[in-house]
Symmetry: none
Subunit: 227 residues, 2 copies
Amino acid sequence: MDKGKILIIESHPETPDSISNLLDDEGFAPATTDENDNVLETAASEKPNLILIDMESVRADVWELCRNLKEDYETRKSAVILLSSQSDEELVVKAFESGADDFVSKPISKKKFVARLKAILRRMERNETKKIKVKDIEIDLDEHKVKKAGKPIDLTYIQFKLLYLLASRRENVFSRKEILEKVWGRKVYVTNRTVDVHIKRLREKLGEYKYPSQYIETIHGTGYRFL
Amino acid sequence: MDKGKILIIESHPETPDSISNLLDDEGFAPATTDENDNVLETAASEKPNLILIDMESVRADVWELCRNLKEDYETRKSAVILLSSQSDEELVVKAFESGADDFVSKPISKKKFVARLKAILRRMERNETKKIKVKDIEIDLDEHKVKKAGKPIDLTYIQFKLLYLLASRRENVFSRKEILEKVWGRKVYVTNRTVDVHIKRLREKLGEYKYPSQYIETIHGTGYRFL
DNA sequence: GCAGTATTGGCATAACTTTTGCAAAATGTT
DNA sequence: AACATTTTGCAAAAGTTATGCCAATACTGC
């Protein structure tokens, strides 16, 4: 599974205890760039979820870099995490004030560090919650189960993904294009009509007979949304 | 300035070094609840941006609490921050795995702590959906929703685009030609009269009965503008 | 590997919603 | 008042979505 895009800014990615080596082991697939590259450009084109900056190895003005990353339209949504072996008050406060989203003091246990990163990634992609409860519907991602009013509902693979997507951002309107991309994946030859059909079947299983829909609303000309 | 809603879960908010006292000094206005209250309910109704849980003072199962907060639709967007005087690996990892967004070991310098909280609040703000607010009208692009005085208004696709265009640059006068281009696109054979019709219907739905128009003004011989 | 079952994709048509522009009425301008 | 522009009601036209159905594919148990 995709754990999220990570960009690491450090000078010596080869050393055994470098951040990139640490994350490689954990199944992340981080990209690396060093201070000599144009960090801002790399970040803007890669659009990583996380940007890890090792303060020891960056010569340039880190605060300036942070501020730029947060101001640039392309990168402002990436979480910036600073790592340093120092941790005095002034430094930490300055880090956060410059726009950093987290500050980690080295050395840190690998497990703690990874857990922290995962938490931040999770916070960015709100829909990675394991369980969602909406109205009388309960969705369990791990068990791949859906219950309505406590009673299990049998959904097929696509139906489940569809429901999960819609419910993960309730009220948000998803266009068919978006749905196709998120449920079927990028390179699909499935048409918009197919989305309709699956919506229909999902509605049936959720027990929608009457109007207006209790769960899935059609936004004419636009898409669908979970109420 | 509003610094964000904070809910603190601790048993003894009165003690001098309690979290709530610490934050009071910093200009935050945290609410407090203790383990005996129904934390979930309080959180769901308050919808705080931040939920601070002092692990020392909570008797109930903290992990369970975290998980519940993250599953419930009302509270899952609140950032949950755990505080503890312990910080061993197992505990920290478990905290993040249960859904916590941050883990802070006590004691911590007030300034560091506050800087961290501000960073988290800032990040949450960034993730909020963009809304345009004009007078008592609220337009939400992601949810494809328009509200007037809090009450939802049902707009069709074109009506929505039209309103969005006009409201996005208030006071600016849009010619019909401009409107046609921006709402319908370049290569259309739709006449100016059609724009009028849509303006009319939009006015109707916005509840414009009397003169002069409260929202959409006609500039005779020129076009329309949102007031 | 086969037969039976479940799932999926999408066509065709029905049901429904939205859009369009004419023509008449109303309003604004000079 | 004479003319230009905008507003409005209406019905036809265009567009979108729902649904029944069937074929293709995937899955399951033997």
